[in-house]
Amino acid sequence: MAPHELRRPFKRPAISDQQRRRDLALIRQTQQRSDSQNRARRLASSLFDLPSHSFPDACQADFPDNVDVGYAIALEQSPELEASSPTVRHLDFVQASKLKGSAARHWFARQLMLTEWMIDVPPNLDRDWYVFARPAGKRCFVVSSNGSTVSRLRNGSVLHHFPSSLPNGARTKEISAPSHVYCILDCIFHEPDQTYYVIDMVCWRGYSLYDCSAEFRFFWLNSKLSETGACNPPSTYHRYRFSVVPIYDCNRIGLHKAYTGGFAFVKDGLLFYNRHAHYQTGNTPLALVWKDELCSQYVLDTDSEGHVPAEQQVVLELQDDGKLTTSDDPPILFGCLEKEIIQKAGNFLRFSVIDECVRIVDGKLELGDLKFVGKANRARAFADSYSKVFFQYTARHSPLQFQDLIASLDPNLDENSESNDMEMID
């Protein structure tokens, strides 16, 4: 019969700091293990290897195939190639978030994935693409880090600086994330309801989604965003509401929903994302925009006063040698300026298109002579892209119509299939 211990702790804190150190270390290790796991899960995976039978050979070159996936992983793992690895890109982001003024603008202006305009319908629209309505508004990057959130427009300039419920998006007492954690969202700010519609997720809690397929990014976006409270109505530590946009498989039903469906936001065209494509900065043919009068108020470009000019206008970049080019990489040449008119290289100049001079040769658009209108708006960071010019041209003459999109769908695909898992309706 052992002596019965009667003494209870007296005037002592119940937890010793040593135990606390142990516990904190365990918490840290558990967290880091789960981070590593999640990181591994998010890496491009054998799952996303495209079964070749679903792909006509002609298109294969356009898609990230096995080689690219393998390459992305090789980059992750091999130190020699570190310069372009995602880890380094992370660091870039951390560094860049400290940049100020024009340096920051310059850097951020190059980070968005820019859609091409849909000139013709890509093959396998229904198998490989998502469609969703594009909210009307300002396209921007939203970055949450160090207890605050900053949104930057396409040209890199700051739109808002505000607190948000995104991880590390505000200085609140409840620590929602370690201090080094940050998030990057690709958004459209919709003025009427003061809401950021998130159309893509680039980084979440410090983990890169650059090398993930759109399918995975959308999935992650949809499961992650709401749990932070970012979709809640505004409050002291959360100035703007965030919202996701319903994303549909690009079949007949999905297309109709996106095209005719009613949404909380004003629509500005439809966006098409290839489900296998990674997030790629700059222009990409794997994300497309399409508009018509029914689903957008802004089908035809307006001039600086907001009117649709009688003639199509384009903004081109003036190179040192007088060449006028688009923003594509590599740039497409649309004309040349006489030496005497060259004012200053690198400026963006606005021209009117003279319809009679335009030609389409082998499916390629040639503008012929251009009429100089003036300098473009100073806020411009980009010239127009080739696809935009082309789309604007066809929109004025023989637009690609919704019926064309529907017609391109494979009638053999099961029309009655239940909405896919990835459909993201609130």
Binding site: M1, A2, H4, L6, R7, R8, P9, F10, K11, P13, S16, D17, Q18, R21, R22, L24, A25, L26, R28, Q29, Q32, R33, S36, Q37, A40, R41, L43, A44, S45, S46, L47, D49, P51, V69, G70, I73, Q77, V94, G147, R171, T172, K173, I175, P178, S179, H180, F216, F219, S223, K224, E227, D421
Partner: protein, 935 residues
Amino acid sequence: MVMEATRLRDLGFLFGKCSSRIFKDALAVASQGLPSFPNLKISSHRGPPALWISEEEINSLAIPFEFSLIMAVEITQVLLNAQSVDASARKYAEESLNQFQDQNLPSFFLALSGELANNDKPVDSRKLAGLILKNTLDAKEQHRKNDLIQRWLSLDMFVKAQVKGCLLQTLSSPVSDARSTASQVIAKVAGIELPHKQWPELISTLLSNIQQQQSHVKQATLETLGYLCEEVSPDFVDQDQVNKILTAVVQGMNASEVNNDVRLSATRALYNALGFAQANFSNDMERDYLMRVVCEATLTPELKIRQAAFECLVAISSSYYDKLGSYMQDIFIITAKAVKEDEEPVALQAIEFWSSICDEEIDILDEYGSDFSADSDTPCFYFIRQALPALVPMLLDTLLKQEEDQDLDEGAWNIAMAGGTCLGLVARTVGDDIVPLVMPFIEENISKPDWRQREAATYAFGSILEGPSPEKLTPTINVALNFMLTALINDPNNHVKDTTAWTVGRIFEFMHGPTVEIPVRTILSVLLQCMKDVPNVAEKACGALYFLARGCEVVGSASPLSPLFADIIQALLSVTHREDAGESRLRTAAYETLNEVVRCATDETTPIVMQLVPVIMVELHRTLEAQKLTSDEREKQNELQGLLCGCLQVIIQKLGSAEPTKYTFLQYTDQMMDLFLRVFACRNATVHEEAMLAIGALAYAAGHNFLKYMQGFYPYLEMGLQNFEEYQVCAITVGVVGDLCRALDDKILPFCDGIMTHLLKDLSSNQLHRSVKPPIFSCFGDIALAIGENFEKYLIYAMPMLQSAAELSTLVAEADDEMIEYTNQLRNGILEAHSGILQGFKNSPKTQLLMPYASNILQFLDSLYNEKDMDDIVMKAAVGVLGDLADTLGANAGPLISQSVSSKDFLEECLASDEHLIKESAQWAKFAVSRAISG
């Protein structure tokens, strides 16, 4: 069995040291219980007639001869020598005993039990004989204990019977020490044998002893029953025998028993037998009777019996809380009287009764709080709430019975301390309701000239800070805090200051933040001044600062500590350098507070933390330079090294977690690693643990750059992984392997053969504490994730281990809470291993190597789902593994996956979970599974 000449010589037999005995006599002593004397035959085989004895017979005859000699003559002296003041005699005796045990265990047992039973022997040798017997039957470490149990069970039947006979015989000895020792040994043997359905007659033999008239036999038997109930699980004693035991015990406790020793042993026996009385406590009549006997015993004139009876009441309060309703009124009267009038040991038990009721109700209410269904196993009867108006004044009275200088005595425990502690528990049980009952006492006493009154008032206030709502306390807090800050500087009495500083700490612990109106700067300046006071007061001031800092932990740059941050650090460092910092745990408190202050540094103050790095490093360096220390000094030095390594660990974690500070801080890595490696040269578990944790944090911060330290560090890593004895060190080292994996990625590969070897050895060891094993499995996952397909060569070792652990973890039936918790930890470890391995192999051409294991993994998941007893963490990990399997093996595993329950019902259940981490894993798994199945 061979007689060994060496041992015979050791015993002195051959040199005639002992009085000579003839063979037959020696044999006679030992022949009780011998199978039979060999039937010796006259034979004329090969020559003249002679006594013909086979070799076997010689051996069997020789054994008792051998031990009887030792038993009779030598063992007594050896046992006495083993207690000699002469160290060399002691050492020699201990060695002989060990040798004896190693060389002839049966004789050893017989000799010792014979010694214990022999009334002609000195009491000291008998006691030690019993003690050694006890230690050869039981040990603390589980693996050793198992060995000892097996050893006893495999002993010859006759030897065991002989030993048990001696033990039972000893219970009748007139020597009380011998009886008492025998009681304990009997209980140990019973603890081994009853679960194996051996010694079935034991309990009835003991019960028949009770019927004897001799009081000393009765007393010893009751004591034996008490120990027996402590050793043996109720599962192995049938209800009929339980009833008989309880009847015997309660009879012994009864007032009609005139012998106090018998009553005391009976009362103590009841304390242990309570665990057997489940059925009896459910029966109203039997329970009434038991309670009456216990309550009556609390009123006997004999102090020890009263104390033992109250101990029974305390035990009943926790084991049979739900059966107490009708007795509470009587118990209150009994306890209140004891608290007021009785001697301290009894009064302390009486208070403990109420503390224990509080413990029960706090637990029950906690359970109510955690799910609103309020269907806890035990309902709350709100005894404390009902007793409150009488209970609180009773406890407040005790607060005035302080002892002088109780704060300077680490081991002090008196009625004032017990009363205050109970008051604190009452506050946690009833919350707001206690405040109006205590406030008048505080107001009445807080300004009295007698220090006892001031201290009691302050202690009362400090005690009730945990429990009531902040709203209820806030109005008082600000007034009180003001008053106390003044008292901390001005009160002439140390005891009052000590309690005041403690109370200030409690205020910050439970009420931190905006509720306190007094500027932090004012509070800080008082606390910093207080840290120069005598050690016990300074230690409490450090504690108060610890909680103040903890309350100031805000993300962002505006911390109220920032303006005085450097002063705080400076003040704490000065405390650590005080001559008297060794008293009252002061140095430890100062470093712990420093850690907390570092943790809550903001962007603004991290530069000051950066300056602290070299300061702490120099301190650590100094401890390593010290030479020629006495063992006492060395112990202190080790303690200090532990604190310094702990502090560095906190700093590393702080500075390593933010990019800008990380790079500046990492410039110290070389020197820091050098220090840590030197620390490992000192043999002290706590220090190793702290240094290990610090290195883990450092490695994670340094990333790939840590590689250059691996060569130097690796031997210590191995050492840690092999430290079975101090399993905490081993566990932490396993965690550090995980840190290294994440820091080094595949650069850890060259070290993996060694690491994996040790981890596999650890897993197979039955010496290593079981709590280390789940983390080892998780660590497999960390390694696999780091080295990817290079894990290939370990698959043939790791996978079968995972497989058998998985099988084991699904076979746990009828487990207690602790076992269920462990089982879940084990499952989590296994699942994390699978996740890591599967993800590690992803996109590798060797993915196919995992295919053979897929069906086992899925079966494991299915069985987890079917068992229905996994916790949330396991559920999340399990559904994650489902996803990992689908992700890595893809379409190849599609058919297997679609056959499994996990991919359907289990996945659905996880998708519907309210726990977002489970849901998240499940969504991911669904995504991966649907791809694998459709692809």
